[in-house]
Subunit: 316 residues, 4 copies
């Protein structure tokens, strides 16, 4: 109790006041595996950052950034606020809490959420920010930790195009491509639609290759056939799930790195919710979801999702 | 050349016995939707054909070909015998019947089967022909009626490479590409593996696009996102299932033409049998099979399989 | 009757304060298709009711009950408060709103929620009520509108057994059976586990019967075989999906009445969420969910879920 | 040639002659795990048996039976011939081979096939035997090795009812129940329909119980709820897949005994073929098939199929 009053005292009289007035280019909230790499890239490109994370240690891992005590502080006196958080409820809380973004953010600042969250939550964020008079975009990314590190992420953007134009210079310092997908939530929806297809086609390639292998085909030959035929897809020609077919893919690196099974399972769960909300049947998407869930139950949660090839091989 | 004129002379003046000795370049057995087009292309490229089909009318539809009364007759005194039939049991029967191919075929002739059949049946055909001292290849095609018409089929070849080299000039008169897939049955296996993946990824694209549509996305935009992302596949960038996204695809032509739902369902049934025989789980392949079966129960049997997009839209 | 007129008199002449002090046995909140029947049964058995619904007209449909203006009012001065609402978020809102249950409920009153909601939401309700010092149970029902009308519902109860004992007399006036399933949320979890199995086995019976029919079997004979064999289940021996096999089931009544397809789809969506939360793969459950979703897209949303038999028959 | 004549000489003059004329009640062909138990029961009940198996050692394992050298011999001079073989092609071969059943069987003898085979094969057997003037029934069994041992098998009978009446006394010496399912092949079809449902509902129970367990429910309680609710089925109330819930079921015996995963997978493969032949979608049946196939890839091929509960638990 004493301690708290003492801090309040400090806040009133000294450095916290100054902290709040510290101006920076970007306020970055959520310093996880993705966030730290994105934030570091912004710093490298010359942006001044204020960062916040529930874990102070995490926040401190961004080189040269000013560590803040609250989302409010990180959102104060910056041109752009970026959130990169695990789920929609967290983003909403960080936005609307007593010490949240909306308390600090300037009406001229821009706000983007690069988390992968339920599109319905994203649309609620658009509504809340609109009512608060804040310009907001949903800007989920694809490319994973590797893309975040290399600064080659793809941003899928939902919301006003004019706002998107203004945010572009920042995004291009963290990524290699920006795709404007439509209005509020469209970035999230497009990402989920893409990942739904990705999960399905990766399992498809794994099933086809495993079937060919068990029937005695040479898999390099089979993959050439597929890649020049109607079975061709990103999972066959860019991120093949069979070890040794392609270098520098997770399959050739013990399924480490890449897009973790638990993360595509999370995306497919979101897709499932969205599909229910709008009455779209996703027969294979739902089956794919369960296959990744089953894989997780067999030790593959942290492996790249292309490990479905190995899962199908079994253990006899 | 002299020999042929002489024979024609005989034909005019003499009897059916002599017809049986008529020599030609190719004996073509099985004049269905695919066969008639493939045979016509051979004739156009200057090959002399003897043809046989259970339906004499069908056989007569090949311009300029000699119509035979039995498979034996069609297989006699030709350089190459081609079979293009609906299923393995039929091919086997046409091969081994009392008036079958093996009764007529010359030891120096080549024999290829371009039907899509169970790889296990194909391997039995390899065994039977080997015992009979006949050079044989399984050479199923992809490209459908359109590819057969245009002479742009892809041949997937299983069997001896030396034999494949000899057959190549003929195949290139009916198709645009030859892929040697491996030993006996490898052509059939590779085709099924590819079509298994194709069936799965087409449904995947349809589910993703339908989900996007129900969530209000512009589908041209969504398709651009997919085609530049990890969801990209033949079904998104070459044969999109959404009407109006691409010209000259079945989806933009009321799902007519293309690869009929009943035919991919047939291929997936074959894949299922093969998968059972070798113990390869095909969780999505099996689900895809059932989805195409269900579509067939809703009037889509003769429509292109990309009509799964329309099937998912429902009828409310 | 006298009492009611007297109350109305009071209402007319006096003030809201007195209304709030009106004492009754039960406060019933949520007067939908189920709620109205359950509430009416309580009235018939002699309970005095205070009722609330967002639709005043709905609230007025309970014969002889006092219609309240807020959940708070309905929860004031009663022995038991019952909520019967469409989803967890609504129950939480009705509980915690400024004019919500917690504002009115007496510490000695009991509170039960008979809605079918996400078990994770139910567990949150247990937590909220515990902190507020209110005795709470989750008590979802099975038996549908017919069971509600007839007073034969089954209550699946989660929470303290002592509390359950006290609530029992009320439950037995609306239902025929009470099953204590375990601690907080256990009623909801058990219901979802049961309905997951139900959805799967109903589709199983429909597939088996449809297969038998297409192969020419007499379906009465086939059903006898199943009912005396290992395929026997509630969906074969109590609520058969084939029209004409059993009287008085939805299948023999144009699939009207019973358990609507959209409602089992809702339950399977909840089961899906719960399964994701605890890492339990539900491969068939998920497929069943999608089949009911697809049925809904073909006009079966308001038909009994046994109409899956008809859906499988197709439309050719 | 000489050798053969020599044998014929022996046959004419000595013991083989007598063997061929040896009269018995039943000729039993196919002495595997099931056959040996069924044959032994017939012997115990006082029937004289002639037996044949490709493995002479297997044939000799039937106590007190006369071991024959050919199916023909086993079928000669008996009242009833029974076949119990692994697949349709084998039954057909044993029937029509040069030393097959049709060569030896008397026109007044009865012939039944208790193998589980493709109904389409069974219907072909009906056709072949009809042309040969032999009375034939398809009589597949359920009950497994345990039922065969105990003499409590259920026979599902397809074909003429009059013939079925005559065969009944024999069947009741090997089993506890006879169900006449309809015309030619109906026994096989009914069995497959039942086992399709069985496979689906067993997985359903396993999914529901595993979900309940992961959510913290007591499984005895949950099973009681299910057994008194709409999820009730043979897999919940008679052969529960959770260890310890019921005594004397495979789940409580390390999943040994019972109905092996590889055998239900075989039945579901047959069901799949039949479903394709008649155009019946089996969406869950097909998924169930693949789940059992996947289980087989994880070491469960020889375990009871209720081990799907354990499979779902995973290995983390």
């Amino acid at each position: 109790m004493f301690q708290k009053r003492f801090i309040l005292l400090l806040k009133t009289h000294k450095n916290v006041f100054q902290q709040r007035n510290l101006s920076a280019d970007v306020g970055f909230i959520g310093i996880g595996n993705m966030g730290v790499r994105m934030a570091n890239n912004l710093v490298k490109k010359g942006r001044k950052l204020k960062v916040y994370d529930v874990s102070k240690a995490a926040a401190q891992s961004v080189t040269g950034a000013h560590v803040c005590s609250t989302p409010e502080e990180a959102a104060t006196d910056v041109d752009l606020v970026i959130t990169m958080l695990p789920e929609g409820a967290t983003v909403k809380k960080v936005l609307t809490a007593d010490d949240g973004i909306l308390k600090g953010i300037n009406k001229n600042s821009l706000l983007i959420d690069s988390s992968t969250i339920d599109p319905l939550d994203a649309q609620e964020l658009h509504k809340i920010t609109k009512e608060a008079g804040i310009k907001f975009l949903d800007t989920p990314v694809s490319g994973g930790v590797i893309g975040a590190e290399a600064g080659t992420l793809t941003f899928m953007v939902g919301g006003d195009e004019g706002v998107a134009k203004k945010v572009e210079p920042y995004l291009m310092q963290m990524g290699g491509r920006i795709m404007h997908c439509g209005g509020p939530g469209a970035g999230q929806i497009a990402k989920l639609c893409n990942n739904l297809i990705l999960g399905i086609s990766m399992i498809g390639i794994a099933e086809g290759m495993n079937l060919g292998a068990k029937m005695g085909l040479d898999l390099n030959t089979l993959n050439n056939v597929i890649n020049t035929s109607t079975g061709r897809c990103w999972s066959s020609d860019t991120c093949n799930p069979v070890p040794g077919i392609m270098p520098n893919v997770p399959a050739s690196n013990n399924y480490d790195g890449g897009f973790q099974t638990k993360l595509i399972a999370k995306d497919l769960a979101l897709a499932q919710n969205v599909a229910v909300s709008c009455g779209a049947p996703i027969l294979l998407g739902s089956a794919a979801h369960q296959i990744f869930r089953t894989m997780a139950a067999y030790g593959y949660a942290n492996k790249d999702f292309s490990a479905v090839y190995k899962f199908l091989q079994g253990q006899n």
